[in-house]
Amino acid sequence: MVDGTRSEPKEYAIEEFLIKEKPYYKPVGDEEDLFNAAYNQHIPLLLKGPTGCGKTRFVEYMAWKLGRPMTVVKKNGAQSKANEAQKQIPLVTIACHEDLTASDLVGRYLLDAEGTKWIDGPMTRAVKNGAILYLDEVVEARKDTTVLIHPLTDHRRVLPVEKTGTIIEADDRFLLCISYNPHYQSALKDIKQSTRQRFISVEFDYPPVDVEAEIVFQESGCTEDEAMSLARLGEKIRHLRDSGLQEGASTRLLIYAGRLIKEGITARRACQVAIVWTLTDEPELQRSIEEVVSSIFE
């Protein structure tokens, strides 16, 4: 901060985190309508797509968008402006990993001075407060946690909490949204059919060149030409997906490169550090991608 006063780090309770600014998101297909429809109909969503193609951003965008007053149709007009925040929909994002247990999500007893005390987990809080619960990379989570979401994702919309012996009914605004990346899904880490079939699935992929160029341009602040070149580079690199690269260059990486370029790093260097070296450690592949970079950028 220029004035020398240290700004306090902003801290929110997980269920109070609201998307305040409109996140940049450029719809490629009808995903926005689908999300709206699913939200109104209480159908959970499964977002599929490679890394860095905008799944998380899309959820943030939708959380913001659904939280706008015009979409809050069920609230009566008497509610005042002070309750604006109430209308907005919090977004609870949980990155799943192998050790994520059921109690990490639901809650657990903790000890304090008087004895034990029940603390709600993020899932319970999201259910109670009517948030959008976003489980990122859900295949990574242990199987017992995926079973947890079953009663939440059918007509019951409840969350049984074994340890406290209670059942929590989901708030009307609650929506479950999970994502996974089919590319590095293996036979072992596939989502079970019984889980899968509780969701509608929206497939994401990297956007077409011109759209991606616009996204890179908007997000990174580099020039339009540079953004176009980056988008074309992205397209070329994705051609290598079957030739040794596990994943193509994500839109996120292209944006990183664009930002570096904006800061005055030369384009070739920016691509090298943001894209080439990030994507692979294999020298031949690196060299090949660098040749593509050096063809596209001066």
Partner: protein
Amino acid sequence: MSTEAWKELESSLNTLPGSVSDAYEESKVSMSEIFSDDELLLWGKEGLAIGTQTVRSWEAAIEYFNVSAMVVKSLAFPSFMQWARCGTHLSQDAPSLASAFFSVSPSIVTNLRPQYIPRWVGLGRGLYKGTWKSGNLASKFFECSPELVRNLPFWDVEIFASLLESISGKSYEVAADCLDLGTTVLPAMGREREVFLSMLRSLTDTSWREVKSCLEIVPKVAKDVEDMQIGRFLKLGEKLAKSGMKDTSRFMADGTQALSGVQPNTHGKILDLCETLVEVEYDAVQPFLKSLETVLAGITIIQLDQWFQTGLNLIKENKEAGLAFFKIESNTSESVLKTLSSSIDLDVIKGIVTLYCTALTGQDIEISNSQELVDKGIGWVDESWASTDGTQVFLPAVVDQYDDKQSNFSWFKVIATHQVGRLEFGSFEFEFDTEAKVFTNRRVDAEKAQAEKLTKLGQPDEVGNVRTYTDIGKFLNLFDETKLAFDIFTVMEDCRLDYLIKTLYPGIKASTKQVQEDAILKRPEITELPLKEAMIELLIRFSLDQFNDLKVPEEYEDVVITLANLVHTLGNSESTVEDSAEATIRAYELISKVINETKPEEEWKDEDLEDQLEDFDEDEFESLVEKMQQSLEMSGEDGEGDPYDSPSPVEYRGDFKPEMVQLISKLQNDASEPGENQPLSQEELEQLLQETDELELDAEQGEIDAGMFAAWVENIMKEAGMPPPEGEPGDGQSPVLSSAEEEGELEAQEPKTYAYDEWDFRAGDYKPRWCIVKEKTLEEGEQSFYTEALNNYSGLLAHIKRQFELIMPETWRKTYRLVDGEDIDLNAAIEAISDLRMGVPPEDKIYWRRNKVERDVAAVFLLDMSASTAEAIDEGRQNSDDTDAPDDPVEYMVWLRRRREGLTRRNYKRIIDLEKESAALIIQAIESIGDQYGIYGFSGYGRENVEFYVIKDIDEPFNDKIKRRIDKITPLHATRMGASIRHAITKLENKDATTKIMFLISDGRPQDRGYSREGVEKEYAVHDTHQALIEARRKNIIPFCLTVDKAGHDYLKEMCGDMGYEVLDNIWSLPERLPMVYRNLTK
């Protein structure tokens, strides 16, 4: 026993200095315990004899008495006396020599056989020449002897001594130094010592001083030269020494220096070259080695060959020139080096270029040497040029256009990008009916006009039929002078590509520009060309971005300007291949009306067009055409001019054959989807090929005879995957492509048969449903084999079982002190409570949980049942048993009995027997921990007959049947591993286990009848197996190859890549090793 004799001896001893008898008395005590009295007397007398030889020999006598007690431990009495007498002779020569001899004796007799002692002493005496210096040398030799004898075979010591002797003839000091050096250096050498000594031997004749330097240098040689090559290196030195080279040590030093500077694995290759060189001119070897480091800094070891050959040829003609060459002191040498070092081999950068092209086009591009395209015999002829046939990009094998690597690589990149550009920007996707983006459509009108013209001429649309098979052909058919039109189209399309590449890939704009400028320099002079060709040449210049400094014929200035505008307009990022075609129509309209005649110098004028370029204007164009038509008609009869010749091509753009590419791909489509379009008959194809201009270009040397066409047609049909033309057997037109493989997919029809793809590494693709795997359950034999195997290995089995059982508890451990778990961990909870009471923040990790990592393994064992497993295991084991016969009588009897039993029961063991035993053991081991597993054998003959024998299916519970099946594991046919692996994958794939393992136990490389075309079967088999293993890994199966083939390292590395494999040096360890590897893999 005569006391007389004793007395006499002792009194004589007393005449010698007092210390002699002291030593005698002292020694006698211990000697008397060993020797009988008579022997003792002889012993004493010998001492006296030694002491009385010369004035000072009593000193030697003292040594004699001192060491006797020690020496006698190793020598029996006769040998002992022989030894003593040697000393006596020595002390006669020189007492100091004898002293030295005696004093080292105790340490030497333990290592030297008694019969060698006199010879050894002889060596020492040989060195003594009666002088003081020689005496010193000889004594020194004795002093060094224990060291030498302990570490060298005796004959090497002898050679070394004789070496010293000849040197000592020249200088005692040098000989003494050599002795010192030799004592430390020689023992350290391995089997190269012999070569080294023989080299030294030849040195003593020519330049004895070198011996010492060589001894000094040789440890460095051993260190820096690759182990396997030391012997050869020394031999080379010997050869040089023999041929009279003076400074062998310099050679050794320089050579070692040179070799240490390069990769050890290249030493063999370099020595090959040296050996060639030494035959031709030995003086050149040293300069060659000296230059090596500099040379190899620039070029690769493969290129070294080329450089070396140049030098070798030179030296054969002119020695001085050759020497200068190898010293890199000649221009030839430098320029050869420069060309080599800056050139780029396609093979080296192939991987990178392939990925680069794949990235650019998004298609699976294969990069090949242009030669391969020429070899296909389908119309491409120039092997040094780039080209593409639509799926592959062909590039020249070597690029050495420029003097530095960077430029050559840029050039490579430009040509590769250009070829790829044809694919990326759709040069081959021309469709006659698709609208162009930049120009208006004139094709339809032209088609009509052409049709009318043909009707007028009375040949309505007849000829056009065949040609219109492809869109490009249909287009070119619009023109009367198709060759001219095709040339224009080529220029236009290349121009479009260059423009697009420069715009979309700004990064190689500079290189492209450079390449274009270089290309302009190579263009012919415009004014020397007849006008039509000059017009094409001008088009090429425009396409190369040269609009200034042009010579333009005055008469056609307006035509040239229109053409320039045309090219300028085509340079648009929107333009497509159809635009190139439209531009071609327009340019053709103009150029075809130019009379092809040479114009004198003064009718040309200089022109700079760059600043006057404007967009192409259709109206102006039409009026120009009108004008030209009129003038053409006015000029009348003589408007023919010279015959038109195609321009010399632009090298970097390579060969462009759109019609051939479209033809082949269309033929392929038609062949794979029969019915829709009637594919061309052979006659039609032949007619088409005769008409196309793409082939005409290449046959400038002479007439294309009918046979050539037939061959082309056949090859093209083959390329397109069409059935070969019927009939005409043995018409002499053998196809260029051999058809060794039986083509065609197979179908699995019978029950329990499965069809699998097979990987063709040459195509980089799978051959669909290529192998039929027939699964059979192995028949049952005797159960006795199984029980017998377990009995034979009972000790090992117990050990293995114990090891396996140890695995189990590891998987059920409780984990304490967790934040969350099954129940409260009481200890931790109490601690937490007491912490709370004390007001200390409690630890919150108060739960325990059972570790839920359950062992969940599924494994498949694939046993090689190929015929080669019938081989008897060599008798090495038995022989070694002979020498290992235990000394202890009881043990010996046991050993003997065991051996006899073994011999009567089975004369020899086969590899398959060990495989069977291993199978029995692994079953026992795995049963003890309860993993899922299957055991299968594989063999087969031919791809339609891959046999897959079930010994224990993965779902089958273990029972007596399986024990009996093991007995029936027998050597059968060949090994087609890939298909068997794929079938095993299928078995494992359906299993729900965390860890899946596939074991492959084999005795050699995969081989089978008709694995592939001749010459590459081995590679093909290895690649296919490798691919199959990769497939396994993709499916989360851990493959592991265990082979008993000692040569396995050669191909297993390639076959398994980074997947696990092990080569068993000792076949007998298989039954022990297999369970252990399994255990480690699943842990």
